[in-house]
Amino acid sequence: METTTLRVLPCGDTALLVESAGLDDVLALHAALDADRPAGVVDLVPAARTLLLRFDPDRTDVAAVERAVREACPRDVTRSGGELVEIPVVYDGPDLADVAHHTGLSERDVIAEHTGGEWTVAFGGFAPGFGYLTGGSPRLEVPRRPESRTRVPTGSVALAGTFSGVYPRSSPGGWQLIGRTDLVTWDVDRDPPALLRPGVRVRFVETTASADSGGSASTGGAA
């Protein structure tokens, strides 16, 4: 594996950000460091092209952590074979038309592309229970919203870049909202609380009824 492409950036006195060529490299590096965690490293946070390492500066230092990163032997990870979760979605998101415009697809085609394939949670982050879903249709690649919303409702199903995701709770957010689900993706009374954990496979299923819609019939599929 090519390690010379790594760029290591300081983040204050308690973290380092390692920039890699892409998601596969990040996950391979993460797998290596997670299996043999360098002393003093308290958190490993993989993301799209970066791995954030948070460390306890009383137990290690920047140089030692950077050395461990550079000496790690990235291991290939298979991102398949995990449990399959079906997510029922009402596709009435406020950005569905914009997504259709960006992708050159009709709204119906956007829905077909989104439900047509299997997604896999590559990594978590942002907020508890949020999983970054990869492996979907490349035709759905869209930019984030130019301005992020201060409040995205719980259960919003969204797209950004090549990722899809489900907002586990109401929060600010800049992704393109194409629909919503009643499925509870984060529940503190469940063990583990997050439904969309790395490795979990996801299939989106279009539904028309939702508990939120105020209608009497609900096939919502809430957990």
């Binding site: 300081p10 983040c11 204050g12 973290a15 982050g125 930019p143 950004a160 600010p172």
Partner: protein, 325 residues
């Protein structure tokens, strides 16, 4: 059953400790006391382990009634404290008995006061911590801020606390004047123009009303970026527009005019360019600023950041030895 009665919850009082670590990758921020120094010192005063559960009051503190013999100490913000309506000293271990009532007046300086009680606030440990994270309702007391007329469990007071133990003035934080925040500039700062960076460092920023445990939004200047914000996922690079983990203390500037400093309850990642990170020690200082207060960012290198951390550890040990006498 040992408990602490909450007669009034105050404006925004939560149970915190030194934080919940190791769950960042699943989007779980550390939470924990925003002003770690004050929380740890409060625990020391009453003979608790540094990481015992304390109460963090914001602006308006709680009113607390004791149900047995305890030591209590208040640290953090400069706020008049009373016991049975009589003034008592902050940064001091005070012996209380059943029926005694601890109260707060209006804050004079700072923002967050810490209350430690010998034995600690003994709420259940969730994912290794007693800290409250209200956004998902976990940890602390039922995952939320305190309300009027409820009770909190207390642990057994077996520590070495001593009535009258006091933290000398020079070991209390100075909360007056502009908050000077030492910052390691980096990460995506290259996206700022030279003028933009100079303006970031040269501006007296004002804390807006959007300032809480999640983060502080500041106002007062304008920063120029070298290019327009690239849309997420467009093209092959640069990495600063692709979602990445945000360290606590990191500063981002969506829109270019309102820097946001992410704090203990912040989102753990996202797609905004991070232009620097406030060093861990000085996060205690920003936690003690409130709406309208002035904040400046001073660029420091990593060695300075680490020296500041050593310096603080030494201060904590000095407090420990003073209290032990």
């Amino acid at each position: 059953m040992s408990e602490l009665r909450v007669r009034a919850g105050g404006l925004y009082t939560t149970v915190q400790d030194t934080g919940r670590f190791g769950h960042y990758h699943m989007g779980m921020p550390p939470s924990g006391a925003m002003d770690t120094y004050s929380a740890v010192v409060a625990n020391m005063l009453v003979g608790n382990p540094d990481g015992a559960g304390v109460l963090e009051g914001t602006y308006v503190g709680p009113t607390l009634e004791f149900t047995d013999d305890r030591l209590v100490a208040v640290t953090g913000a400069d706020v008049p404290v009373t016991l049975n309506d009589e003034p008592v000293e902050p940064w001091t271990a005070i012996r209380v008995r059943s029926g005694d009532v601890l109260g707060f007046a209006m804050i004079r300086a700072g923002c967050r006061a810490y209350v430690a009680v010998s034995g600690g606030i003994d709420v259940p440990v969730y994912l290794g911590s007693r800290s409250t994270y209200t956004l998902t309702g976990i940890g602390g007391h039922e995952g939320r801020k305190l309300v009027d007329d409820e009770s909190l469990p207390l642990g057994a007071a077996e520590g070495p606390g001593r009535d009258g133990a006091v933290v000398p003035e020079d070991l209390r934080p100075d909360l007056t004047g502009t908050a000077e925040l030492r910052t390691v500039v980096g990460l995506c700062s290259y996206r700022l123009t030279e003028g933009g960076l100079a303006s970031f460092l040269g501006t007296d920023w004002k804390v807006t009303k959007d300032a809480d445990r999640v983060g502080y939004r500041l106002r007062g200047g304008k920063l120029d970026f070298t290019e327009r914000e690239q849309p997420f996922g467009a093209g092959s690079d640069p990495a600063n527009v692709v979602d990445l983990g945000y360290p606590v203390g990191s500063i981002q500037v969506p829109g270019g005019d309102e820097p946001i400093v992410l704090l203990n309850d912040a989102v753990t990642g996202g797609g905004y360019a991070t232009i620097g990170t406030v060093i861990s020690v000085d996060r205690d200082r920003i936690a003690q600023t409130k709406t309208g207060d002035a904040v400046r960012f001073n660029s420091v290198d990593l060695d300075t950041a680490l020296a500041a951390r050593r310096d603080r550890r030494e201060r904590i040990e000095r407090v420990r030895s003073r209290i032990a006498r």
